[in-house]
């Protein structure tokens, strides 16, 4: 007797419908929602959404980051320009960026990243320089303010060419001030850096799965060896339960160990080398104008 199973069609329809609903009414994050903004794919250090920067400014930033590649004491500099912060103060906007996981600028060891955020905000030209906790000592808030004041005519101009010039000069001033404070301190980067935590976790998971497979196979073979004479069904039963237990045990121990909160995730967005250094601790430092 065949049982007509049209149930699977209903299930499939249900899945398609729910998928459609999810996609159609998914979260409407605006393009300028800081938690959604990701660094530019080609060059994470320069995300020029407001199309303000010129090649000269880009070159300046790239040069600094090359220096930072070989010397840990040199700060990585990244810049983000947006048209609008959607009503948020530029400080809150930058806070949200640095609290997320996409903007881990600066060496992981030194936490000396510098993130510059510029927002047109309808002509207000708000600009903020956020300093990592390791950069604060060399570039305190008061100093940043003075540099803003020095460049304010260009920065607050409605002529974008002047703004670009202002930003370029600001970066030069920042570098000069920072290097003066450093006083010649350098720290050559160790090429054999420890593997990112994500990689280690991945390897552990693979090993754990192999371990589970080995245990299950061993138990199965034990069962098969001893269960050949009588009641093979119950022997299969007990080894199945053991396999389930071990699989569950290892899976749960691993999962509770690697639970990250949203603000805690320290994965380097670009897998190291050529991307941000992973220095995530900005601590809300910096100043805006």
């Amino acid at each position: 007797m065949t049982v007509k199973n049209s149930g699977w069609k209903k299930t499939l329809l249900g899945m398609v419908l729910s998928l459609f609903v999810l996609l159609a009414f998914g979260p409407f994050a605006s393009a300028d929602d800081p938690s959604q903004i990701k660094p530019d794919g080609e060059n994470p250090f320069i995300t020029d959404r407001a199309k303000v920067l010129t090649a000269d400014t880009s070159q300046l930033i790239n040069q600094q980051n090359q220096r930072a590649e070989s010397d840990e004491k040199q700060p990585q500099i990244a810049i983000l320009t947006v048209d609008s912060t959607d009503g948020m103060s530029i400080a809150d906007f930058t806070n949200e960026l640095t609290l997320g996981k996409n903007w881990k600028v600066g060496s992981k060891k030194e936490n000396n990243g510098i993130l510059i955020v510029f927002a047109k905000n309808g002509g207000q030209n708000k600009i903020r320089v956020a300093t990592g906790t390791g950069a604060e000592a060399y570039l305190p808030d008061g100093k940043i303010h003075q540099l803003f004041v020095k460049n304010q005519d260009n920065l607050k101009s409605q002529d974008m060419a002047k703004v670009d010039q202002g930003i370029r000069q600001l970066i030069q001033d920042i570098e000069a001030s920072y290097n003066q404070a450093l006083g010649g301190e350098t720290e050559k980067k160790n090429p054999f850096q420890s593997a990112p935590s994500g990689l280690i976790a991945f390897i552990l998971v693979i090993l754990a799965i192999l371990l589970v497979i080995v245990i299950v196979l061993v138990l199965k073979s034990l069962g098969r060896y001893q269960g050949q004479s009588q009641r093979p069904g119950s022997a299969r039963h007990s080894s199945g339960a053991s396999g389930f237990f071990w699989g569950w045990l290892i899976g749960d121990l691993l999962s509770s160990g690697s639970r990250h909160s949203y603000y805690d995730d320290d994965d380097d967005h670009f897998g190291g080398g050529g991307g941000f250094g992973g220095g995530g601790d900005f601590g809300g430092g910096g100043s805006d104008f």
Partner: protein
């Protein structure tokens, strides 16, 4: 042909298998309990660490007040009443700090920190109200930037703290870790609310 009382291996005896099954279930339950409990404790540690960060930020910010007081000393007609008010607010701050140091629970710590926040804002608004004509000289601009920077650090650490508290509270209320939370004495923690008076005076602007 069935043979009665045939020698069955130990592990195949029905009684042994049932017992093994019960023990396995027991072990699973214990494992789940332990992992939930560890998760709760770990989250509690995160909250603890975040509290320390806020306290540091609060203290660094409060340390700027003497600079502010010195900056206004040279300005028009020092009324001793103003300094009296500032001194009172300073006392309030120190009392709140004392409460924090003596706090026996997380919620007591949070409310002590809120007290520190209020006292700081009182100091700043006292100065702001009484020196409205203070011109923004270069020195004042720099000091203003420092105070705003300090304010932002407190805001930042508070956000991190509230996120840690949220993660902890989620664990405390969701099943099945809620059962474990009840058994191990973990209860929901309070969030660190921003001081309302700070929202009325968002920036220290002496040019206004």
């Amino acid at each position: 042909m069935t043979v009665i009382n045939e020698n069955t291996p130990f592990y195949k005896k029905r009684g042994v298998q049932v017992t093994a099954g019960i023990v396995a279930v027991f072990l699973i339950l214990i494992m789940m309990f332990v992992s939930s409990s560890n998760g709760l404790n770990k989250q509690e540690q995160n909250v603890d660490a975040a509290t320390g960060e806020i306290q540091t930020a609060l203290q660094n910010r409060a340390d700027l007040i003497p600079n502010l007081v010195n900056a206004v000393k040279g300005a028009q007609g020092q009324e001793s009443a103003i300094y009296g008010k500032i001194a009172d607010a300073r006392t309030q701050y120190n009392q709140a700090k004392q409460s924090y140091d003596n706090a026996s629970s997380q919620d007591k710590k949070t409310s002590a920190m809120q007290g520190q926040d209020r006292a700081f804002n009182l100091m700043v608004s006292t100065i702001q109200e009484n020196y409205p004509d203070l011109k923004s000289s270069d020195q004042m601009g720099t000091l203003m930037a420092q105070i705003e920077g300090a304010n932002n650090r407190v805001t930042y650490e508070r956000k991190k703290y509230n996120q840690a508290v949220q993660d902890y509270n989620n664990k405390v209320v969701s099943f099945p870790s809620s059962l474990v939370a009840g058994m191990t004495g973990h209860s929901k923690m309070a969030y660190y609310q921003a001081d309302e008076s700070a929202q009325k005076n968002p920036t220290v602007d002496f040019s206004k």
